[in-house]
């Protein structure tokens, strides 16, 4: 009895020792050298694997950064400046600070503002609807309302509003990963610089038709009247293809254009309610001008 146990233990121990030697030799022979910094960088990244940086997951991004000579072009939209600083410290490289961004839905064509003229009963996907025809409304540029952006979002930052039929962004959750921007077939969603207190002013329309036609199909369409371009003290607004665009970097949130817009296509978000319209705007713009002087 005891001898059987003894033989078993001895033979298995010898077998184990031989295997260990083989494994060691093989491991040495086929060793793949990996830069330890890749692991360090990956640990510093958020690990969301959202693809917002344009690389396949956080590890792909880390590998690319470790290989690159200059990492100033790289940006992790989810982690933001803190993460990128940490990465730069690990790699011993320089990095510029970038303004954090947030997704903005540039369409106000709700059920009330933009009446439906046809009914679409195909598969519930904006991409397919856009490939078939111009959409249920007369506007061929605006939101189709099938929620491809909601499906694309990994961070619970964009949802459909059932009342308006339009998506809305939850600013706190949005990481500006770009997923909804690429998912939207009509290029309605834009990433804009986050201003203080998440205040924003933007043209909530992408319709490039002539004014009369745009207005006919949607009450809050940009009609390309040029009024906002003239009123803007900072040259932040440009007009192209019958559509105004506010440069988020140049815009100082003075709200003059919002008052000027005849169709309410320019939207302000996050501002306190105005008590007396005129006084307030003057104050705001004066403040904004002060800011520019300081710069």
């Amino acid at each position: 009895m005891t001898t059987t146990v003894l033989y078993t233990i001895i033979s298995l121990s010898i077998l184990g020792a031989i295997m260990a030697v083989i494994l060691y030799v093989v491991a040495q022979k086929f060793k793949v050298y990996e830069d330890p910094r890749i692991d360090q960088v990956e640990d510093a990244l958020p690990g969301a694997n959202c693809g917002g940086c344009g690389y396949p997951g956080c590890r792909g991004f880390a590998e690319a950064m470790v290989k690159a000579d200059d990492i100033s072009e790289f940006n992790c939209p989810v982690g933001g400046n803190d993460t990128m600083k940490e990465v730069a410290r690990i790699l011993g490289k320089e990095i510029e600070e970038k303004e954090p961004k947030v997704a903005v839905v540039r369409c106000s064509g709700s059920f009330q503002n933009r009446p439906r003229t046809t009914e679409y009963d195909g598969p519930g996907s904006c991409a397919i609807e856009a490939s078939l025809y111009g959409g249920e409304t007369g506007c061929h540029y605006g939101c189709l309302g099938k929620g491809d952006c909601v499906e694309a979002c990994d961070f619970e930052a964009i949802f459909m509003n059932e009342e308006t039929g339009l998506p809305y962004v939850v600013d706190e959750n949005c990481t500006a990963c770009n997923a909804c921007v690429t998912a939207c077939p009509n290029d309605i969603i834009e990433l804009r610089e986050r201003k203080k207190k998440d205040r924003k002013i933007y043209v909530s329309c992408v319709n490039q038709d002539k004014g009369a036609l745009a207005r006919k199909v949607c009450q809050v369409a940009c009609i390309g009247c040029n009024k906002c371009v003239k009123v803007c003290p900072f040259d932040a607004i440009t007009l192209e293809n019958n559509l105004a665009y506010i440069d988020p970097v140049k815009c100082k949130l003075c709200r003059k254009c919002v008052d000027e817009c005849p169709t309410n296509a320019i939207v302000e978000v996050g501002f306190p309610p105005r008590r007396k319209k005129k006084e307030k705007t003057e104050k705001e713009s004066a403040g904004a001008q002060d800011q520019t002087k300081k710069q």
Binding site: T118, G122, P123, I128, Y133, G134, D209
Partner: protein
């Protein structure tokens, strides 16, 4: 045993309601809207301005490049505007809008009824004439016809196949052309044969049109070189690859053209248009359109000018029924629902189909049970369920490997699916993505 193609295919109810109705000439509308992109290829460039006066047959937009086509005014009158109008594709496209005044035709167009049999022009002249007259494939694909008549070097055409199949349910415009304009059409076939330098032409007609088969057989009996074939009824036999398989028992390779098997396919409507262009000097400015639907009081076939609003055609067929849910341009299988009744008819509009409310809605989608009915139905031998899945998961390289681009969007898969999965919609989406990727690759 009648011939047909071997792979896949479906047989929807034929519903040829207007088969016995003679072609009626539709009166002139008050205003025509002529899109400048009515064909596959580069959109044409308008040559007229606002307030210009034009006659029927005048060029109003010239072709841009080889795969493109001239556009002619279909009426006489004054150009009201050049504007963005929703056309049959469902998108806004630049169109020339003309207010109709009288009915004057451009000089040189022979408007008499007599049949001109003798073909005097050389093949090169015929090609030029077809090109100048803006003739495109009238079956619905609207591919410029002169391109198909120009055989590249190193290729040889042995057979001209004439497509009189009309496999789409409801449509009867080709049927009526064969019955009423048969003689002219046969001369058109002779012209096409001369342009291609072929000795043999085959006309394929499905055997649900026995009168057309008998009529055409009679017409070609005295002269050699043209034969008429009766084919078994099966959709989509009108696809050129399917028609070649059915009639010549040859298979066009994946990604290839009928030229690769020594054949060229033209529609009967195109043959008639070629006859009118070459023998009568008349550009493509009108076409036969079937206006049909079970709820319509007078389904009919109309000879209408290009650019006539759809509502005029429906009016001529007894007016729009109250319970209409959808108006489709084209047949029920491949046609496209219109966004507005002001949409003009174009060179490729073979029919207008009115569908009542209770039949207009799609059935709700259920889960795919892998029954592979779509695979059996696909005439190109593809796997529609797989293509849909790959599109949804954005695996575009695998889509390309699975010959996605061979799909001709006949809709047999969606038609046959017992779970009402909108397979074709996804495949079409996949195709547009893959085409973009291929274009990018070529640009590099």
């Amino acid at each position: 045993m009648l011939k047909t193609f071997s792979k896949g295919g479906v047989h929807p109810a034929e519903q040829k309601l207007s088969a016995g109705k003679a072609i009626e000439k539709l009166g002139l509308p008050k205003q025509v809207t002529i899109p400048i992109a009515q064909h596959i290829g580069a959109p044409s460039q308008p040559t007229v301005k606002k307030k210009d006066t034009v006659k029927a047959g005048d060029v109003i937009a010239t072709s841009q490049g080889f795969v493109s086509s001239n556009i002619h005014s279909s009426v006489s009158g004054t150009v009201a505007k050049i504007d963005q109008v929703i056309d049959t594709t469902g998108f806004r496209k630049p169109c020339v809008v003309i207010n109709v005044e009288g009915d004057e035709w451009a000089e040189g167009i022979d408007t008499r009824q007599e049949l001109v049999r003798d073909v005097t022009l050389s093949p090169e002249e015929i090609r030029q004439k077809v090109m100048d007259s803006g003739i495109v494939g009238m079956g619905g694909a609207t591919f410029p016809s002169h391109v198909k008549l120009s055989v590249p070097e190193g290729k040889k055409v042995y057979t001209l196949v004439i497509n009189g199949v009309e496999c789409e349910p409801y449509l009867t415009s080709d049927h009526r052309v064969m019955m009423e304009r048969g003689e002219e059409m046969i001369v058109g076939v002779r012209i096409l044969m001369r342009a291609l330098g072929v000795e043999r032409a085959l006309i394929g007609v499905e055997n649900n049109k026995p009168d057309a088969i008998a009529h055409l057989s009679n017409l070609v009996a005295s002269e050699g070189g043209i034969e008429v074939y009766g084919l078994k009824v099966k959709y989509p036999q009108g696809g050129e690859k399917q028609l070649i398989k059915a009639m010549l028992s040859r298979e066009v390779p994946s990604g290839g053209l009928p030229l690769d098997v020594g054949a060229v396919v033209h529609n009967v409507g195109t043959a008639l248009a070629v006859y009118e262009a070459v023998q009568k000097n008349k550009p493509l400015i009108e076409r036969v359109v079937t206006v049909t639907g079970q709820s319509l009081s007078h389904p009919t076939n109309l000879l209408a000018r290009i650019g006539t609003p759809v509502k005029d055609l429906i009016e001529a067929a007894g007016g729009l029924p109250e319970d209409t849910g959808k108006v489709v341009s084209g047949g029920p299988m491949m046609g496209k629902a219109l966004k507005s009744l002001d949409t003009p008819i174009v060179k490729g509009t073979s029919g207008i189909l009115v569908i009542p409310q209770q039949k207009a809605k799609r059935a709700p989608e259920m889960h795919c049970i892998r029954c592979s009915k779509c695979v059996t139905a696909c005439p190109m031998g593809l796997e529609p369920y797989l293509l849909k899945q790959l599109t949804q998961t954005e695996r575009y390289d695998e889509l390309e490997e699975n010959a996605l681009l061979d799909c001709m969007e006949c809709g047999s898969c969606s038609y046959t699916c017992p779970a009402h999965v909108p397979l074709l919609d996804y495949i079409r989406l996949g195709k547009s993505h893959v085409n973009q990727i291929i274009r990018k690759r070529k640009d590099k």
